[in-house]
């Protein structure tokens, strides 16, 4: 599925101006700080923004073309949207909210009860929407959007009002829905942690413009470099974003093991805290082969000799590929088995160790520094 965007919307104080073609498979993240225009972009695709100059084409169908006044109404686009504030109908209970969507779906292929099972809403059907928790509401909202059987599902910050556990549950549900229904999703969020866990690709917006589009890990790494150019409220945690094959989720000594493999050299193990019983079960049930994780650049340190006598379990031999100095901070990029790692150190340490491009070093980080959001 391809989505061709070529339009402008006048937003105060800037224009949202996008000319890009996205190939929509799996979950595509849209990242940007508040006011970057990401929600407006989603509303434009949904058909909720009227004053658009240009065109939006989804798989050869013109949704909008201001040149010949084409405007397909939101209700005719076969696009689903999960709102940040759920927008469940207050005069209907859960079941009737879901039926509202199912009734208006033209060629029903999905089984109503299967969707209820998939979204685990069986026990909530007869509750009034006021009686639901935030996470439950958002699950109903997701189920309701799925029941219209859209070609494309848009999610506008669906997690922002939820607590951590509810966020994790909903992210898992999004992945499950995506896999089982093969439904392309566009997922808007200002949280890189959440996007990193579920997205395959990432579109980055800043002040109404696309500043990057590509594979999720690659894009997050690109953002590391742009960090200090943006203002303080555009803060991003510089990090190394990884999808690694799972060796074991619990090695019996409190650690999980992932392998950082490469065609060239032997594989290197990366250790992180063992996952809990429940997470292991979920992972086995979904037959998860890889794990998404990230390491903050501030959590990795550099040593010139191999730190063998240390409690820090992860130490990788790497070669420095770039040294970026910005004020008192130095961002070092080092490659281990072709994988880039990002390290943030002070200018003091950089000078003390005389770090330069091409130098061989050891990267070290504790198991606890390898973070994963879903488990």
């Amino acid at each position: 599925m391809t989505l061709n965007l070529n339009f402008k919307i006048n937003l105060n104080p800037f224009n949202l101006s996008i000319k890009h073609e996205l190939s929509l498979q799996g979950i595509t993240g849209i990242f940007g700080h508040s006011g970057s225009g990401k929600s407006t972009l989603l509303r434009a695709i949904a058909g909720l923004e009227r004053n658009i100059n240009g065109s939006i084409i989804l798989d050869d169908i013109f949704l909008i073309d201001s040149n010949d006044n084409t405007f397909v109404k939101a209700e005719q686009r076969h696009i689903g949207l999960v709102f940040q504030d759920t927008r469940l109908f207050p005069h209907l209970n859960v079941l009737d909210n879901l039926k509202f969507a199912a009734k208006r779906c033209q060629n029903r292929r999905l089984d109503f009860n299967e969707v209820i099972n998939l979204t685990e809403l069986g026990s909530l059907l007869h509750k009034h929407v006021d009686e639901l928790s935030g996470g439950q509401k958002q699950r109903v909202s997701l189920a309701r959007a799925i029941l219209t059987e859209p070609k494309l599902l848009l999610l506008d910050e669906p997690l922002s009002a939820l607590d951590r556990q509810a966020k994790i549950n909903l992210l898992r549900l999004m992945l499950k829905v995506q896999r089982e229904l093969q439904l392309p999703m566009l997922y808007v969020s200002h949280s890189l942690d959440e996007l990193q866990q579920v997205c395959d690709k990432l579109l980055v917006l800043s002040k109404g413009k696309v500043i990057g589009y590509g594979g999720i890990h690659h894009m997050i790494h690109q953002l590391n470099y742009s960090q200090n150019e943006t203002s303080a409220d555009d803060f991003i945690h510089q990090q190394t974003s990884l999808s690694l094959p799972i060796k074991t989720l619990n090695n019996g000594h409190g650690l999980a093991v992932l392998s950082l493999s490469s065609s060239l050299s032997e594989c290197v193990d990366i250790y992180l805290p063992a996952l809990g019983e429940k997470s292991v079960q979920i992972s086995e049930k979904t037959n998860e082969q890889t794990l998404r994780c990230f390491i903050l650049a501030s959590d990795i340190s550099i040593s010139l000799s191999e730190p063998l006598n240390s409690s820090i379990v992860n130490h990788l031999s790497a070669e420095i590929s770039s040294v970026n100095i910005k004020g008192n901070n130095v961002l070092i990029t080092a490659k281990c088995n072709e994988q880039e790692f990002f390290v943030n150190i002070s200018i003091f340490s950089q000078q003390k160790l005389a770090l330069r491009v091409g130098q061989s070093v050891y990267l070290q980080f504790k198991a606890g520094a390898v973070r994963t959001y879903l488990y």
Binding site: L48, A74, E75, R87, F89, F100, Q106, D130, A145
Partner: protein, 231 residues
């Protein structure tokens, strides 16, 4: 021969019922239009709709009387279309009542539509519901209480109307002689016993109707309370 006061009651109820139906049919789209309107002319239309609240009914009645007379266009058109004179007819007092009670129907509806806003309508559109579908299955059920309020206020206000009807309807039994005018007649002829019966009935009727409105508007508060206890 039928009791003239019962005939007046029948005329009043017929007029008020017809007026309420017409007001809901005209007032709903007007209120919707005003709620969604962003132009600066909005205040002018709002002022026109609200005018009967402050205008002496006799002023409105006076201008309507002139407009309804066959010498002027509205009255002339009516006469050509129906073959009957508009002034001093049942139709005249219904038209007068529609204008006079308009704010009582439009204002509560407009407020309800404004409060509802766009979010749920957008949600409906994203689920494949077109404009009419959204109105009947989202707007109407959610703003039901406001519709009941609007209809009841419009009805009650029409029943209590006096000045406009006196000006444009006169006092024709079975046609334009409504309760408030019958009451005035009784007082003028010093028949206070009959006047009391009508006055008490009108008072009691209004009281019952208003109590019913407030009773009907209560359940929505309960839902709000339940929501509060949950969070």
């Amino acid at each position: 021969m039928i009791n003239p006061d019962l005939l007046a009651l029948y005329t009043t109820l017929k007029m008020a019922a017809l007026t309420t139906v017409i007001l809901l049919l005209i007032g709903t789209p007007l209120a919707w239009f005003l709620a969604k309107m962003q132009s600066r002319f909005k205040v002018i239309i709002e002022a026109i709709v609200a005018l009967p609240l402050v205008l002496p009914p006799t002023v409105l009645g006076f201008y309507l009387l002139i407009a309804f007379s066959p010498q002027y266009l509205p009255g002339e058109l009516w006469q050509q279309a129906t073959g009957q004179q508009l002034a001093f007819s049942f139709s005249a007092i219904v038209i007068g009542s529609v204008l006079y009670s308009m704010p009582f129907v439009v204002q509560p509806l407009q407020k309800a539509f404004e409060q509802l806003g766009e979010p749920l309508l957008e949600a409906g559109a994203m689920l494949g519901a077109g404009p009419m579908d959204r109105f009947f299955n989202i707007v109407l059920p959610i703003t039901k209480a406001s519709f009941i309020t609007a209809a009841s206020l419009g009805f009650a206000h029409t029943v209590g109307e006096f000045g406009v009807i006196l000006m444009i309807g006169g006092n024709i039994p079975g046609e334009t002689r409504v309760l408030s005018i019958a009451l005035f007649d009784h007082v003028e002829s010093f028949d206070y016993a009959k006047a009391h019966i009508l006055a008490i009935s009108l008072l009691a009727g209004s009281m019952v109707l208003l109590s019913a409105i407030y009773l009907l508007n209560r359940p929505s508060k309960k839902i709000v309370q339940r929501g509060r206890n949950d969070s």
